[in-house]
């Protein structure tokens, strides 16, 4: 098994307040990794250290060692623009740009100069939308606004947008929490299909979802990584009492 991301002794502070304590974790290339844990335990914070989105929060400070394919992503030589092109992100609330569906998907390839002509761009857009399972629904209305789609379609558009720059890792922060069960099922299917091509990390509050889509699960509590292992083990045979309490619904 190849390790795509390795994090070692990571601490994150918001001003004086510590949100992540001494977290070490290895993310596999071929697996879907789920982050679970009660609200406020730092799942989003840790996820955002992996593509340096914490840089956009003025008060945030990250310590520790995080490597993507062995490269220190917080080193001075790391180009954040390149990093974020390699580590894509899908947010909790679908956030398509107020542009056409086509332009939403073409946005990333355009700023990174991935297509050298209209036909290449068309191909990227079609391929990304196909992989995101949206092509059939939107192929006749590519010039409609992305914001005119349903919530579930918007989220798949955001996934297509992330896929379009051909990332190596996709981070998803509760991608289904704003969606109904049918749209959720479609996204889960999609995650299943994307597995292997991209390393995927997904934050979720839904235990069944974590059990369904992931191979590895990490349980966070109060900024610490309590337990990390095969999803099967975590759900059927947790080692830590806190994990047991959480997955059996005793708190959180």
């Amino acid at each position: 098994m190849t390790q795509k991301i390795t994090a070692h002794d990571v601490n994150v502070f918001y001003g004086e307040k510590q949100a992540i304590r001494q977290v070490s974790i290895d993310i596999d290339q071929e697996d879907v990794t789920a982050f679970i844990g009660p609200s406020g335990c730092g799942k989003s914070t840790f996820l955002r250290t992996l593509n340096r989105m914490n840089d956009t929060v003025a008060s945030a400070r990250v310590e520790g060692d995080i490597r993507l394919d062995g490269e220190d992503i917080y080193s001075k030589d790391m180009d954040v623009v390149q990093l974020r092109a390699r580590v894509g992100m899908v947010f909790q609330k679908p956030n398509p740009f107020p542009k056409s569906i086509y332009e939403n998907v073409a946005y990333g390839p355009r700023i990174h100069g991935l297509a050298s002509g209209k036909s290449e761009m068309d191909a990227i857009v079609e391929q990304s939308l196909t992989r995101a399972g949206l092509w059939a629904e939107v192929k006749d209305r590519l010039s409609d606004s992305g914001t005119a789609l349903s919530g579930g379609q918007q989220q798949r558009l955001c996934i297509a947008r992330a896929i379009a720059v051909d990332p190596e890792v996709i981070l998803m922060d509760e991608p289904c929490s704003a969606l109904d069960p049918i749209a959720t099922a479609r996204i889960e299917e999609l995650i299943h299909d994307l597995r292997g091509r991209y390393a995927i990390v997904i934050v979720t509050h839904n235990m069944q979802q974590a059990a369904r889509v992931s191979q590895k699960t990490a349980f966070f509590h109060l900024g610490e990584l309590v337990e990390y292992g095969d999803t099967n083990d975590i759900f059927t045979n947790p080692r830590e009492p806190r994990t047991t309490d959480y997955i059996t619904g005793r708190y959180g």
Partner: protein, 458 residues
């Protein structure tokens, strides 16, 4: 009694009514713990309002109508038989007589007005008595009507609420009615103008020289196109060339780059710029910028640069409008959800790419709306152009040449000799009406644009 005194009397009656009604309502409360729908104060307020409002409304109407009644009464007297026929002289005599009767003038210019003054005084006092009696009657009627209603079960609280609502409605209607009145007078005077000068001459004529009007063809020298052009050139082209880039960039800096501590002092400072009286900008334009612009023009070899150039007025006007554009752009940029910005940054876009490709396009309708509002302000702006622009109307694209604007011409036409039925002065109203219509349309259009945009993120 005079109207002023009557007003105080009515207020005093209201106060008394308040106490009386309140006392009666207090008497209901016999000590048992009972719930009333209104407190004694509400009963008091209800009765006081009913006591004061009818006479006050009457007095307000009376204030407008009684002078005419008094004058009619004076004209009806025997002494008035010698008055000249209706016209300027007759009006002068009557107004002199009125002033004499009030002791506001000493010694009369016309003999007749001295004769009429006693008649004036008599009529005035007779009508004052009528007003006093009617006001008192109305006050008592209102009081009686309301006082009879003061019972434990009476919902005085909600009645007071309703009266307050009506009063607030009236207050807002006054603002609207004033606007309607202003527009009506503009339309009326403009109609007189257009009965002398054909609309087409005014709207499409390219020659403007109101100083020399040929009485047989006044339209020939009252073509307003050079003014429209000058206004557009200074307000919408030169001023916006300054205000749009600087306003937009400062809004981008403030919303996207500035640290909160910087933003805290910088935004208020920018807004202070909007509070500087325009006449101060006018000085600045006339005394500092205009000479500098002319010297610059001469130094780059423009042969006939005016010291009252369109450029000087437009530049200063643009600076004046910067805070306006900036705050509108700031609002619409801030209204773009943060998730847009994060989405773009997470794609690997740099902050400036994010601003150019996502934030500004998303905020564009709001920004465009703000710019349109700014244009409508700029073309209505008067002081700067009065002080810094010339009165020479010409159709030119040369920013160093002198140009004039609609507002500047309105001021020129109405100051100095004021004879309110010549084509020259009436032209000011036609210009005002045109300006009003244009800014109104701009504002409506801008608000529609802004509104449509707001709906997109709700």
């Amino acid at each position: 009694m005079s109207l002023g005194a009557l007003f105080f009397v009515v207020a005093a009656l209201g106060l008394i009514a308040w106490f009386v009604a309140r006392a009666r309502a207090v008497a209901f409360r016999t000590g048992r713990r009972e719930r009333f729908s209104a407190l004694p104060g509400h009963h008091g307020a209800f009765v006081a309002l009913w006591t004061m409002l009818p006479p006050l409304i009457f007095l307000a109407i009376w204030w407008f109508t009684s002078p005419a009644l008094v004058t009619d009464a004076v004209i009806g007297t025997a002494a008035a038989a010698n008055l000249p026929p209706p016209g300027f002289e007759r009006a002068a005599i009557l107004s002199e007589a009125r002033n004499l009767s009030r002791g506001e003038a000493f010694g009369a210019f016309h003999d007749l007005s001295e004769l009429l003054a006693p008649a004036y005084a008599a009529a005035q006092s007779r009508y004052d008595w009528i007003a006093t009696a009617l006001a008192a009657l109305l006050a008592f009627a209102g009081f009686a009507f309301a006082y009879a209603r003061v019972r434990p079960t009476f919902a005085a609280r909600s009645q007071v609420e309703r009266i307050v609502m009506v009063l607030l409605l009236l207050a807002s209607l006054i603002a609207i009615l004033t606007t309607v009145g202003i527009v009506a007078s503009l339309v009326f005077e403009s109609a007189r103008f257009f009965s002398i000068v054909p609309v087409t001459d005014f709207l499409f004529g390219t020659h403007w020289s109101p100083q020399v009007i040929d009485p047989r063809d006044p339209g020939a020298s009252l073509g307003a196109v050079p003014l429209f052009w000058g206004t557009f050139f200074i307000g919408a082209v030169i001023a916006m060339a300054v205000a749009i880039p600087f306003g937009l960039m400062s809004a981008i800096y403030l919303t996207q780059y500035a640290r909160p501590s910087t933003r805290r002092w910088m935004k208020p400072v920018l807004e202070v710029l909007a509070g500087v009286p325009t006449v101060v900008y006018g000085y600045f334009a006339a005394l500092t910028v205009a000479p500098a612009v002319r010297d610059f023009a001469v130094s780059i070899g423009v042969s006939w640069a005016s010291s009252e150039s369109a450029l000087a007025a437009g530049l200063v006007m643009g600076v004046m409008i910067i805070p306006f554009v900036s705050s509108m752009a700031d609002d619409s940029l801030a209204a773009v959800p943060n998730s847009m910005r994060d989405g773009s940054l997470a794609m690997g876009a740099t902050p400036s790419e994010t601003i150019r490709k996502v934030l500004v396009p998303a905020a564009l309708p709001g920004i465009v709306g703000g710019v349109l509002l700014a244009v409508s302000r700029a073309i209505g702006e008067t002081m700067i152009v009065v002080m810094a622009a010339s009165g020479v109307a010409q159709l030119t694209l040369n920013p160093f040449a002198s140009t004039t604007t609609v507002t500047k011409q309105i001021v020129d036409l109405l100051t100095g000799e004021a004879e309110f039925d010549s084509a020259k002065t009436l032209a000011a109203f036609a210009l005002g009406l045109t300006l009003f219509v244009v800014t109104l349309l701009l504002n409506i259009f801008a608000l529609i644009v802004v509104k449509r945009y707001r709906e997109a993120y709700d």
